[in-house]
Structure formats: structure tokens, C-alpha cells
């Protein structure tokens, strides 16, 4: 899968969890889910589940701990897909 496509797929997942005052255009690879995108930290587990379903991979608790930014998430997805 192309990187652009993966990024778009991930953005679509994240979009659902954005608070009303954060636009989808504000999502950057460097965006921190909680501190910059203002996503409720409780929703990170839901993003993980959506990512698992969308990419057909399984993420472990350690992966979640490392997933601070959008780029982190892409990195983890890539490592699972290639692993």
C-alpha cells in the first residue's frame, strides 16, 4: 500500500475522534493526538481498534504506549505490515 494511501486511511480514522473545534486539516504527521489534536486520551484505545480493523494487524499494549503522534502510528503500522 502506498504511503499516501495509508496516511489518508489513518486520517479518516482519526477524524472521527477530533473534538468539534479541531478541523481535519489540522492533522499533520507531527501532530500529537492528545496535546495538539485534543483527542480524549480514553479514545486512543478506540483509534487502536479502528487501526487494527482497517489494516488487518494487531497492536500490543507497548505499541499503544509509543503511539504519541500521527507519525508514530504510521511507523507502527508499517512495522506490523512489514513484520
Amino acid at each position: 500500500m502506498q504511503e499516501v494511501k495509508k496516511y489518508q486511511k489513518l486520517k479518516n480514522i482519526i477524524q472521527v475522534y477530533l473534538p468539534e473545534d479541531v478541523s481535519v486539516d489540522e492533522i499533520r504527521p507531527s501532530s500529537n493526538f492528545v496535546s495538539e489534536l485534543n483527542i480524549n486520551s480514553a479514545n486512543l484505545v478506540d483509534i487502536i481498534l479502528d487501526v487494527e480493523d482497517a489494516f488487518d494487524i494487531r497492536l500490543e499494549n507497548e505499541d499503544m504506549n509509543q503511539m504519541q503522534t500521527v507519525a508514530d502510528a504510521l511507523h507502527i503500522i508499517n512495522s506490523k505490515l512489514n513484520g
Binding site: V16, E20, N43, V45, D46, L49
Partner: protein, 424 residues
């Protein structure tokens, strides 16, 4: 005596009407909300009818964001959110926006249990070793305080935010808890109410107890028969009712519409002693609850012109009338008018008290006493005590001054609240 407390907002999500306008019209017309439930038939319930609010598909988007709707599988929460937010808006209040919550606004909104269907989903996943896949929404939808937590967040309340639970007494109790807190000066505005889930997992236990009617699956609207000689048991229901209670001071300051005043009331328990049990009321406690409610309200029994009973359509209805009559010292023609909305909506379990309190208070607004349905054949044990003319079969024009409302619940618990037309 503490501060005066008034009702400034109402909201409801009932089997015979969602929203205040539809519910009011339904009560006027004696419209039944009891319908055949094919899912109960498929599950081989004895009682295959129930009262369930009909929520239009696009209605929820007005109350909940797409994210909040995601994975939402808790009917009681949905009903409670609709009723609660409607009541808040009806009171002319806005959600608190800004850096701090409103410290004077609270929520006391009860339920029996929350999110039975969500809990069922979770149980299947857990047993299937998929606990990690439950997501973040299981806890908040299944905790009993889910409804007060959702409403408290939506409205930005900074005072007490809690959910009480006392079976079928829950809704009426929530009003008295809110009343106490406002009267004592600890809060200015409290959204009180209660909700109850729909569905087989809530209603099944009652079906198993053989206390639901079995012979009306073909004729649902005739099934719930409070005060009738042919009553067969209560019809299970669901929904939510919500009332905004407010200090008179606060209501006057914002020039709010005042529906009625809460004069006071009482809650107690029969201790499951004597004739009282987990499921049957101790009459001594019921009468004491009513007597104390009248005393606490600072009125005389004869001041009560209208009663909205608990009256579930079981064999206990005559006993309830007897308890009212003994407690008030009134009988025959001197007994107040009395009605039960359960003929139309069934017994909405933990939502019953608040839905019926909304209906009771609407009688001040509409200048009526709403009619009873399905009791053309009054139980002789009732007409031995009170005159049949005190049980209107159709909605009648009347200007109620003082309405007493009681709810009784499993655990031998009782609540009685006294409402008055607002006199400045």
C-alpha cells in the same frame, strides 16, 4: 422550612410520546404506547407486549455527536439524554460554556441499571477472550451513573452530579433529593429525573416472576389495566422523564416560566418487615410515607385535590387505594381525584416516577386531570373505599391546586412528593 423550590423545565421520552408536546397530547387523548414486541415473541416470552418510546431515526443527531453515537448501545441513556436536554432547554437554560463549570447547577438523574445491551455485548467479548477489544465506551454506558455523567458533561454542571437507584421509586426519589439540596441552599438548579432501558434483558426477569399479563399479546392497548377488576399484572415499559428544579430566587432572577412548586415530600422503607418483603409493600410504611409527606409539605390532607398513584395494574392496586385513604383520612366522595398513567405507558420501571411526575405537573399547565384508560370495570375493592366518580375515565377540565404523587419499589421502598400550583 428551607428555601422555596419550583419546577421550571420538563422533558420526557415516553412510550406514548417523545417530547413534551406529543406526550401531553397523548395523555389528553388517552393514547396507549403499549405495542406488540416481535423480539419478545421470538424469545418465547409469556408477555410479548411492552411500552417503548419510538425514537425517529434522525432525532438522535440533534442530541449526540457522531462520536457519541458511535458504539452507543444503551437505550436508557438515549432516553435520558433526550428528556434531560429537553427539560434543560424548556427551562430556558443553556449548556455552560467557558472555562469553569456552573457550580450552582447539578444533576440527580437515576436509573435501575444502565446499558443492558452494551453489557451483553461486553460479556460475549470478554468470554471470547477479546477483552482488549471492548473499546472505551463499555464502562461509561454500563455504569449506573452513566446518565448523570453524560448529562453533567453536556450541560457543564459543577454541583452534585449523581445517579440514585431505588427500583421503581427512583424517579420520584430523584425529585426529593434535588428538592432537599436546593431547599437547603446547596444548589440553585438541579436536573432531576430517571431513565430505564428497553428490551428483553430488562423485562425478562419480570416475565420470569409471572407478574406480567399473558393474555393480551393480541390486544396490547387493553393490557395495562390499573384499578380494573380484570387487571392481570403490569405491562413493562421504558423511557425517561426529567424535571428542572430550581430555587424560587433563581427562577425569579431569570424570569423563568414556573410550572409548579415542590412543597416537599418523604421517602422511607418498610424494612421488609410484616407484610413488607423484597417485592411487596409494608402498608404501615406506605401510609407513614404519605402522612409525613403531607406534614413536610405544610398542608392538610384535604388540600390535596389530585393524586397520581403508583397503581401498576396488579392485585395490589386496591391495597394502595386503601393506604392512601387511611393515610389521608379521606374516603368515598371526599377522596381526591386519582389517576394512573400506567394504563397508557405501562410500568416504566426506574423511569416510572419521573415520567409520571412530568405528567402530573403538566396537569397544572393544561388545567386538566388526565383520564384513566382500561378501568371501566373498577375493582370492587377500590369502589368499596372511594367513589368511582373520583377516577376519571376521560380527561376532565379541572384546575388542580395540590397534587400528591407516590412511587413504590422493590426493596419495600416508598417516595411521596407534593406539588402545588405556583402561587407567588
Amino acid at each position: 422550612m428551607g428555601r422555596r423550590v419550583v419546577i421550571t423545565g420538563l422533558g420526557v421520552c415516553a412510550p406514548n410520546g417523545v417530547g413534551l408536546a406529543d406526550f401531553t397530547k397523548a395523555l389528553h387523548d388517552g393514547k396507549s404506547g403499549i405495542r406488540f414486541q416481535s423480539k419478545l415473541q421470538a424469545l418465547e416470552f409469556s408477555c410479548q407486549i411492552a411500552g417503548e418510546p419510538l425514537i425517529k431515526a434522525n432525532l438522535l443527531e440533534r442530541y449526540l455527536s457522531p462520536l457519541q453515537l458511535r458504539g452507543l448501545n444503551a437505550t436508557g441513556l438515549v432516553y435520558g439524554i433526550i428528556a434531560g436536554r429537553d427539560a434543560w432547554a424548556d427551562a430556558g437554560l443553556e449548556p455552560t460554556a467557558g472555562a469553569s463549570p456552573n457550580w450552582d447547577h447539578g444533576i440527580i438523574f437515576g436509573t435501575g441499571m444502565s446499558g443492558a445491551d452494551k453489557f451483553r455485548d461486553a460479556i460475549y467479548q470478554v468470554d471470547n477472550k477479546e477483552v482488549r477489544r471492548l473499546g472505551s465506551t463499555t464502562v461509561v454506558q454500563t455504569m449506573t451513573s452513566g446518565i448523570s455523567a453524560y448529562l453533567g458533561g453536556m450541560l457543564g454542571c459543577g454541583n452534585q452530579v449523581t445517579s440514585n437507584s431505588s427500583a421503581c421509586t427512583t424517579g420520584t426519589e430523584s425529585i426529593l433529593m434535588a428538592y432537599d439540596r436546593i431547599a437547603s441552599g446547596k444548589a440553585e438548579v438541579i436536573l432531576s429525573g430517571s431513565c430505564s432501558d428497553s428490551g428483553p434483558y430488562i423485562w425478562g426477569g419480570f416475565d420470569a416472576m409471572r407478574i406480567l399479563p399473558r393474555d393480551y399479546n393480541e390486544n396490547p392497548s387493553a393490557a395495562s389495566r390499573p384499578m380494573s377488576a380484570s387487571a392481570q399484572g403490569f405491562v413493562p415499559g421504558s423511557g425517561a422523564g426529567a424535571l428542572v428544579l430550581e430555587s424560587l430566587e433563581s427562577a425569579q432572577k431569570r424570569d423563568a416560566k414556573i410550572y409548579a412548586e415542590v412543597l416537599g415530600g418523604e421517602v422511607n422503607s418498610g424494612g421488609q418487615i410484616g407484610e413488607g418483603s423484597m417485592t411487596a409493600p409494608n402498608s404501615e410504611a406506605v401510609q407513614r410515607c404519605i402522612v409525613r409527606a403531607v406534614q413536610n409539605a405544610g398542608i392538610e390532607p384535604k388540600d390535596i385535590d389530585t393524586i397520581n398513584g403508583h397503581l401498576t395494574a396488579t392485585t395490589k392496586d386496591a391495597l394502595e387505594i386503601s393506604n392512601w385513604s387511611e393515610a389521608l383520612g379521606l374516603k368515598g366522595e371526599s377522596f381526591p381525584f386519582i389517576n394512573s398513567f400506567k394504563g397508557m405507558i405501562g410500568h416504566c420501571i426506574s423511569a416510572a416516577g419521573s415520567i409520571e411526575c412530568v405528567g402530573s405537573v403538566l396537569q397544572f399547565e393544561e388545567d386538566v386531570i388526565f383520564g384513566n384508560i382500561n378501568c371501566e370495570d373498577l375493582h370492587p375493592g377500590i369502589t368499596d373505599i372511594i367513589s368511582g366518580s373520583k377516577i376519571p375515565l376521560k380527561t376532565m377540565s379541572y384546575r388542580p391546586k395540590v397534587i400528591a404523587k407516590a412511587s413504590f419499589g422493590f426493596g419495600d421502598v416508598n417516595a411521596c412528593v407534593i406539588f402545588s400550583a405556583y402561587n407567588p
